[in-house]
Amino acid sequence: MSDKTILYVEDNEFNRKIVRQLLAQTRYRLREAPDGESGVRAAQEELPDLILMDVQLPKMSGLDATRQLRADPRTARVPIIIVTSYALSGDEQKARDAGATAYIAKPYSPRDLLSKIREIVPEA
């Protein structure tokens, strides 16, 4: 059975680097997209096992991108973890309304993020 693919849509290079280095230790395969539009495109081109979606993104917000992916029958069933920059009241609800599977607040602990990923998509 091939390794699980994770698509990380995030504009900040350092945050991408954290996840890249975090997942380097695991068997997950990481793909990256720097904005909402390219994130949606990447998901449609090659269906990932899990999407990590930032909210504040250039071109298209993470919430809009999630809605679009949910509307597309090909990507409708992919688990999406939404990463928001701050856990404001109502943010979680907004994420769930958009169709997110789970929700994690930034700044997140890489350790917690990894266990959340493992919980949704077991490594092997």
């Binding site: 900040n12 954290i18 975090l22 230790q25 009241s89």
Partner: protein, 536 residues
């Protein structure tokens, strides 16, 4: 009577010359008391005059009725004289006819009666009548002498001679006396009629005069009353009008009254007050406008500031995420084993990074609240869940400091309540976190109990306490008791302020009781069913 309404009759009278009199009375330079006194004195004098006039009239009438009585008496006496004379004539004739001594005696008795009445009448009448009476008396005396002659002749039985004397001397004498007496009776009768007519005329005259006098007195009294009351009512009514204007917020009007008394002074003062109020009002309006402009500007600045803070904290969090993330991965040995010397500085980076994160979060919360953009996310929750979450998050800190950490839950609390569980938890977490932070030994107790339609949460500690003069200030932003405390105990100084705002947004209340070096108890209440409070 209402001051703002004048009845039509009074309005009509005020336009008549009596209105000018009202003006005149108002202009008289004297106190109201003196004016009233004069008016009442005037009315009283009028009535005293009327009473005196009635007394005089009554006295005149009494005197006339006495005169009438006396005239009546005189008439009676003259009639008596007339009657006695007739009796004498009749008795004399009878003596001649019956030749009897007894008839002569009767003549003498009748003569006495005649003389008696004549004497009374003479006493009552004046000089001209007295002459007639003397003539009558002289005639009577002569007649009596003749009667004596006739009596002697009758006694001597000389009847013929006696009859002759009677017819030649006595009868003409009696006739002349009778003529005089008749004249007297007529005079007295006429006199009495005159007197009676005069009295009737006088009575009618005095009735007319008295009635006129009374009517004039009543009219004058009414006029005086009208003048005096309108002299008072007009300035009062004018003052009433101005006060009405003032009370409805229209300042600057004035009252003009002709009064030269206390009411005039009052009007002048009232006008001055109104002018002063108008001046103050204008000043106030100008100040309010300036203030409103300033306020709008300040509000704009405040919104801009809050937006700036919100953006800033977002921008700050992104690099912070990287710092905390890389540190954690380093600590977790993701980049290889961590040398022993590196562990402590790595832990320090993590501690300070988390502190910075808390600060940024608090600033963002506060700026959102102040910009009016913080909204509660109301839902069903249970107090037990809130309290347990707080206990779970703080248990390790309490254990580290070897503090007793107690939770007391009221059994009477409803299982499901309405509120923003996350914010209520944040509030209780802030208070309990502070309590643990500022307590070196002893215990921290969290309580939740029902209090009417509210849940009453409290956090009691046995910590350093707060000086009484600082109790008010603890809920203000960036107020920790002093800088040393911040260094010693940590914290952002924003937690209490944010807690207060969340509590108030729920419609609750927050307060603190404290004794220096004995401990503090923070209380707050949250409605069992919270509704979104519009602004804080």
């Amino acid at each position: 009577m209402r001051l703002d309404r004048t009845d039509p009759l009074a309005a009509l009278l005020l336009r008549s010359p009596i209105g000018a009199l009202v003006d005149w009375a108002a202009r008289v330079r004297a106190s109201v008391q003196r004016k009233l006194l004069v008016a009442f004195l005037l009315i009283t004098l009028l009535f005293i005059g009327m009473a005196a006039f009635s007394l005089l009239t009554m006295r005149g009438m009494t005197r006339q009725s006495e005169l009438l009585d006396r005239a009546h008496q005189r008439l009676e006496w003259s009639q008596q004289i007339h009657h006695s004379l007739a009796m004498q004539m009749h008795l004399t004739a009878m003596a001649l006819l019956v030749r009897d001594e007894a008839a002569i005696g009767s003549i003498l008795r009748e003569n006495n009666r005649f003389n008696e009445a004549l004497a009374r009448l003479e006493e009552a009448v004046e000089q001209p009548e007295r002459a007639v009476i003397q003539k009558v008396r002289a005639g009577q005396e002569e007649a009596m002498a003749v009667v004596a002659d006739i009596a002697n002749l009758v006694r001597d039985s000389k009847i013929e001679a006696a009859t002759r004397v009677h017819s030649t001397r006595e009868d003409p004498l009696y006739r002349s006396i009778d003529a005089l007496v008749s004249q007297m009776v007529q005079q007295e009768d006429a006199r009495m009629v005159r007197l009676r007519d005069g009295m009737r005329a006088a009575r009618e005259r005095s009735l007319v005069v008295l009635g006129g006098f009374a009517a004039i007195a009543v009219l004058l009294a009414l006029a005086a009353g009208f003048v005096i009351s309108w002299m008072l009512i007009r300035p009062l009514s004018a003052a009433h009008g101005l006060l009405n204007e003032l009370s409805s917020g229209r300042f600057g009007g004035s009252v003009k009254v002709p009064n030269n008394d206390e009411l005039g002074e009052l009007a002048v003062q009232l006008s001055a007050t109104s002018r002063e109020l108008a001046r103050l009002d204008a000043e106030q309006r100008r100040a309010a406008q300036e203030l409103a402009a300033l306020n709008a500007k300040l509000q704009q600045t405040s919104v801009a500031k809050s937006e700036f803070l919100a953006n800033m904290s977002h921008e700050l969090r992104t690099p912070l995420n990287a710092i905390l993330g890389f540190t954690e991965m380093l600590t977790d040995g993701l980049y290889g084993a961590v040398p022993g010397d590196f562990r402590e500085p790595l832990a320090d980076i993590q501690t300070n990074g988390r502190h910075l994160l808390r600060l940024i979060n608090d600033v963002l919360d506060l700026s959102k609240i102040e910009a009016g953009r913080m909204e509660l996310s109301l839902g069903e929750y249970s107090a037990e869940e809130v309290v347990n979450t707080v206990r779970a998050s703080l248990r390790s800190l309490a254990e580290e400091k070897a503090l007793e950490f107690r939770v007391e839950l009221d059994a009477g609390l409803p299982e499901i309540m309405l509120g923003d569980a996350k914010r209520i938890t944040q509030c209780l977490l802030n208070l309990a976190g502070n309590a643990l932070k500022f307590t070196k030994r002893g215990r921290v107790t969290i309580r939740a109990e029902r209090q009417g339609d509210f849940v009453h949460y409290s956090v009691a500690d046995t910590g350093i306490g707060i000086p009484p003069e600082q109790l008010e200030a603890v809920f203000t932003e960036f107020r920790q008791l002093d800088a040393t405390i911040t260094r010693e105990f940590g914290g952002t100084g924003l937690g209490l302020s944010i807690t207060k705002k969340f509590v108030e947004m729920h419609g609750g209340r927050i307060w603190v009781e404290s004794r220096l070096s004995e401990g503090s108890t923070f209380h707050f209440t949250i409605p069992l069913k919270s509704e979104m409070a519009s602004t804080v």
